[in-house]
């Protein structure tokens, strides 16, 4: 009788932890965040080719959000695009996080805050000179500094993925 109780107890306590191991792995979030980190600059380039870089980035961000939602992942993206012109640079911030964000931008010593409501894009113009310009961006709890080329469109982005307790965040500058 005591032996039978032992067997039942051992089976119960042995199988229970094994069942927990079968919860789905979360490697897909790391993979997909890395995937977007590489793919956002490509989306920007296709947008430049079609003369609609911001429209394409907005569309690709929305498409990606819908795709990963099917895997139970909540995607948040904040991107800042630097589009140099003749003596100036147009800085556009797209906010696809859950709430409004204030993006701090410092271009060669001129600092401005750009408030971007959730799901929208806001732009501002800075004066630049020379072949390069210094850019510093504070956005989405992250901050970065870079020297950017005056003849090339550049992008800085913060990508955030959440599913339950797990959060993956990645930055990109290209």
């Amino acid at each position: 009788m005591i032996g039978a109780v032992f067997i039942c107890a051992l089976l119960f306590f042995g199988i229970a932890p094994a069942i927990q191991v079968t919860s789905p792995p979360s490697d897909d979030m790391d993979f997909l965040a890395g995937n977007l980190q590489k793919e956002m600059p490509h989306a920007l380039n296709t947008g430049i080719n079609s003369s609609d870089p911001l429209g394409v980035l907005c569309n690709f961000t929305g498409f990606s959000g819908d795709a990963v939602l099917g895997r139970g992942i909540d995607l948040g993206v904040l991107w800042i695009v630097f589009m140099p012109g003749d003596g100036d640079v147009n800085v556009s911030a797209g906010n696809f996080m859950d709430s409004g964000e204030t993006v701090g931008v410092n271009i060669s010593g001129t600092y401005r805050d750009i408030y971007v409501a959730a799901g929208t894009v806001n732009s501002t113009l800075f004066t630049i000179s020379g072949y390069t310009f210094d850019a510093e961006v504070t956005a989405g709890g992250e901050s970065t500094k870079a020297v950017l080329l005056s003849n090339k469109t550049s992008i800085y982005s913060v990508i955030s993925m959440e599913r339950g307790e797990k959060v993956v965040r990645k930055e990109l500058l290209a």
């Binding site: 042995g14 490697d27 897909d28 690709f60």
Partner: protein
């Protein structure tokens, strides 16, 4: 004394059964998580080679399947691919048990044409 011996026998029998069940369960879990990981390795490898972009933007599932098979990560596993754009999906979803799906997002090739490549991996 005889009763104690029977109890010890029962405990040993229980441990043997427990080990048997644990081995069966852990083998199954290992196969499942390994299949998904291999799926992501195959997708990642084909993506890094630049082999998928053109075929995926043309919704060519056969060519994408071939490129993924060529990575060698899915040896011994069955696989199939669906490619979805914003409105449609093409390709085959396997009619099998224990299927693991891995996804890759692409924004297009020369032109903007976003697609999701979904790789299904399963035991033959």
């Amino acid at each position: 004394m005889k009763g104690q011996w029977k109890t010890i026998e029962s405990v040993i029998a229980g441990i043997v059964i427990l080990l048997f069940v644990a081995v069966l369960t852990s083998t199954s879990v290992h196969v499942s998580s390994s299949a998904e990981v291999q799926g992501y390795r195959a997708l990642g490898s084909a993506y890094e080679k630049g082999a998928l972009r053109a075929y995926a933007s043309q919704m060519d599932t056969d060519a994408v399947n071939s490129e993924i098979a060529a990575t060698g990560y899915l040896f011994g596993l069955g696989h199939s691919v669906t490619i979805c754009n914003a409105t449609d999906c093409v390709g085959t979803v396997p009619d099998s048990e224990n299927v693991w799906a891995s996804s890759l997002l692409l924004s297009g090739d020369e032109q903007y044409a976003p697609v999701e490549v979904i790789l299904y991996v399963f035991r033959n």
